[in-house]
């Protein structure tokens, strides 16, 4: 019974208004769609659309040379609430969008759409666009999936990172051959320059902590094959799952934090195994030379050029090109979170978010999915807690556990109300509070019940204790009763 409201503004540039509009501009429209998830839950998506024409300033911005500049100019003119979308419709003959491209998705929360022949094409493009920029029915279903394979979602459905309050990111440099290579990487600078902006943007979603380490003599679990044609070593796709295990034992993790850990490993192959390439399914070397594992992290292989002169001194000093490395690691981070840029319709063009790592609307997508997942988690946690307390009557609920439960319920209700009103940011914060409270209530150490007494054990324990003691008591009670009865009879006899 979720209702997700997305505020959308569709702005028509002069010359792009389709002839068959139902009403004159400006007007409001609401589109509701039901997304069936499973028997108990239903999600309604509500797109509150405001259609209007451009203001003078927006018009000026739309006359920029390229779509990118137009987007940058339009950004300060929007009231970019988290979760809202603004769509600018330009005329069909406009040169703002390149040939063959009908939709341009900017890196903030806006997009440029070419007006089609009529209202129908505009509507279909708008629908596709809103699906890309906010949520799709499959992303909602994946966020709500309980883990029970209903048959609709395959076992690979929930491989993105679960919504958590924080994540730990560890960058590790693996140098298996320190005799040949002395590897230096300026990780601190790279983290500050490239990783920190992305994490700052994601700080709305969770807390991130970053650390790094260098491991020596850490070998991969698989021996790569030598390929004569390319005179290089190759790791095939089906040997990749076994690469991680021997390294993982040495990776270590922070002893105090309980957040999920994401490991990003940079492997510099040994001189005897250089250069090392990763093969994909078709046998071609992968351009990024990297692979990742869902919910764990990623590995990239960094090849060092063999020195041409035979008199090179060993160990060679290697200075790692951190830009190349961070490009791949940040891409893996996005894929681990589920933000992929691959499944787009062909007439769409997406602007690259640059150093920020992800566009504003991708952040919105994450927030939608995480908010829904949080609320679903809260409801299952509290339901199972209630079932547990029903079943076992003699658990004592402390006051603070009770107050956590109340807080969780009220936060969850407010989160759902805010989702229905379209305030994504406050809905997400409320859902985070709800999850924290419900987890604290469910996992409170005082709720452990160890008091299972089957009936036959109760008899077996208490009867041998009480029966021998009870026998003389009962006998003496019987004796007292007999004596009082006799004394009552005696006086009548004495007469």
């Amino acid at each position: 019974q979720f209702q997700l409201t997305v505020p959308v503004a569709v702005v028509f540039a002069p010359g792009s208004v389709p002839g068959d509009l139902p009403r004159p501009l400006p007007f409001r429209d609401v589109q509701e769609m039901e997304i069936p998830v499973n028997l108990r839950t239903s999600v309604t998506s509500r797109y509150e659309t405001v259609y209007r024409s451009t203001t003078a300033q927006e018009n000026i911005a739309l006359h920029a040379a390229t779509a990118q500049e137009a987007d940058a100019a339009l950004h300060p003119l929007q009231d970019a609430l988290l979760g809202s979308l603004t769509v600018y419709v330009v005329s069909e003959t406009s040169s703002l969008l390149p040939q063959g491209i009908n939709v341009y998705v900017g890196k903030h929360r806006s997009a440029l759409v070419r007006a089609g022949s009529g209202l129908a094409t505009l509507h279909s493009r708008l629908q596709q666009l809103t699906q890309v920029m906010s949520f799709t029915s499959s992303s909602i279903a994946a966020a709500l999936s309980d883990g029970v394979p209903d048959g609709q979602l395959g076992p690979d459905a929930r491989r993105h990172l679960k919504s958590s309050l924080g994540y730990e990111i560890t960058f590790s440099l693996l140098n298996p051959d320190p005799k040949s290579h002395t590897v230096d990487w300026d990780i601190e600078d790279a983290v500050n320059r490239y990783v920190q902006p992305v994490l700052d943007k994601l700080s709305l979603v969770a807390n991130f902590s970053v650390d790094s380490q260098i491991l020596y003599y850490a070998v991969l679990g698989v021996t790569p094959r030598f390929d004569k044609e390319s005179s290089s070593f190759l790791l095939s796709t089906h040997s990749l799952p076994h690469v991680i295990n021997p390294v993982e034992a040495r990776l270590g993790s922070s002893a105090t934090s309980l957040y999920p850990v994401l490991n990003f490993l940079l492997y510099v192959p040994e001189r005897s195994h250089s250069p090392l390439y990763i093969q994909d399914k078709d046998g071609a070397p992968v351009s990024t030379n990297a692979f990742h594992s869902p919910r764990w992290g990623g590995i990239m292989v960094y090849n060092v050029e063999t020195p041409t002169s035979p008199q090179a001194l060993f160990p060679l000093h290697v200075e790692v090109d951190m830009v190349r490395v961070m490009e791949v690691f940040l891409a893996q981070l996005r894929l681990l979170f589920g933000l992929s840029r691959e499944e787009l319709p062909t007439e769409f063009l997406m602007e690259s978010p640059g150093n920020e790592g992800l566009a504003d609307w991708e952040l919105d997508r994450l927030l939608w999915a995480h908010t829904i997942e949080n609320i679903a988690t809260v409801s299952t946690t509290l339901t199972s807690l209630a079932q547990l307390l029903d079943k076992i009557g003699n658990i004592v609920i402390k006051d603070d556990v009770a107050s956590e439960v109340y807080r969780a319920v009220s936060s969850a209700q407010s989160a759902m109300a805010k989702l229905a009103a379209g305030h994504l940011h406050s809905a997400f914060q409320a859902s985070k509070e709800a999850v924290t409270s419900s987890e604290r209530a469910f996992f409170d150490p005082s709720l452990l019940h160890l008091l299972y007494f089957p009936d036959d054990q109760k008899f077996a324990i208490y009867i041998p204790l009480f029966l021998p003691v009870a026998v003389p008591i009962l006998l003496s009670l019987a004796k007292i009763v007999r004596e009082t009865k006799q004394r009552k009879k005696e006086p009548t006899k004495m007469d």
Partner: protein
């Protein structure tokens, strides 16, 4: 008329060929999907290995647990994902003629107590309460990370328990018991909080099958070394050390696991056949009705090893290496 007949035949043959090709393509597509469906959907592996008996003459239970620990580590599960609970210290026991060793084979062939054994709960910390706390997650906040079971809804967990047991209970430390109903309830709480994707429960005690009778949560597979009313017997005494070194069921399970390597495709049906009555004297039992997949499709490495799913990274973020960041310094 005669001209049209061969035309019709030609058209029919072409149609049949086309259908055949489509059918083949469809079949391979369906087969891919079917294969995908039968794979386990886990992304990480955990193991909880518990030895519940104390005292020197129960050496074999500690050796059992350490042997399973060694196999599980060899097949890839790291220490950070293993919770090892040993109720007594055999390696440094004053009665051990070979200190700092725990042997699992007579004539001291295999020392399972190396220098990388990480025991998380030791000695008197192995209690029913701590075991249930580990399983359900209701741990006091001061517990370190190595003592917690931080599994999620995509974890496959292996739980191995050994010790002395009876019909419906397992004895902990000679002073308390855990009943099969408590264990079933603990698993149900794990399921409610989605703390596992699939669970494999192995128990090597007398009347072990009684411990899995009461399970009612989905996705649990259970194996036991003996049926209700039977005793599990120990394997061989070592005259040099003076005690029995291993239990029969675990001994043969270990021989079976020694042949498994991380890439092997052996499935659970082979594990069910591991200790026939001729070798084990007791009848091992198993329970798969709560498990959603067919045991034939379940790989041994799904539980005992840690084979991760990987995907090739084909995307790249484009970064500008200009010095926008320098001004902030």
């Amino acid at each position: 008329m005669a001209a049209t007949a061969p035309d019709v035949c030609w058209v029919r043959a072409a149609a049949a060929l086309l259908l055949g090709c489509c059918g083949a393509a469809l079949a391979s597509g369906v087969q891919d999907q079917a294969e995908q469906f039968f794979r386990s959907g886990h992304t990480n592996n955990w193991a909880v290995l518990v030895c519940t008996s104390r005292f020197w003459f129960n050496y074999r239970h500690v050796a059992n647990t350490l042997s399973v620990y060694r196999s599980v580590k060899r097949l890839g599960i790291p220490d950070s994902h293993i919770v090892l609970m040993l109720a007594d210290d055999m390696a440094c026991n004053p009665r051990n003629p070979k200190p700092a060793t725990v042997f699992s084979h007579k004539n001291m062939e295999l020392n399972v107590y190396g220098d990388d054994v990480e025991v998380d709960y030791r000695s008197y910390e192995v209690t029913v309460e701590n075991f249930l706390r580990v399983l359900t997650g209701r741990i006091p906040p001061s517990t370190p990370r190595s003592k917690r079971l931080l599994s999620d809804d995509r974890s496959n967990i292996l739980i191995y328990m050994t010790g002395h047991g009876g019909n419906g209970f397992l004895k902990f430390q000679d002073s308390e018991e855990i009943t099969n109903v408590e264990l079933a309830d603990a698993f149900e709480q794990m399921w409610q909080k989605r703390r596992y994707n699939e669970l494999l429960f192995i128990i090597d005690t007398c009347q072990g099958a009684s411990m899995y009778e009461r399970f009612y949560s989905p996705n649990i597979m259970a194996l036991a070394s003996s049926q209700v009313g039977e005793d599990s017997l120990s394997h061989q005494p070592d005259l040099g050390i003076g005690v029995h070194l291993m239990d029969r069921y675990t001994f043969y399970v270990l021989e079976f696991l020694e042949e498994i390597h991380p890439a092997s495709q052996t499935n659970m049906n082979d594990l069910f056949q591991v200790c026939p009555k001729s070798l084990c004297v007791s009848t091992p039992g198993h329970r798969t009705d709560l498990f959603q997949r067919d045991p034939q499709d379940v790989l041994i490495t799904d539980f005992f090893g840690s084979v991760r799913k990987v995907e090739i990274t084909s995307e790249r973020v484009s970064l500008e290496s200009d010095l926008a960041g320098f001004e902030s310094k």
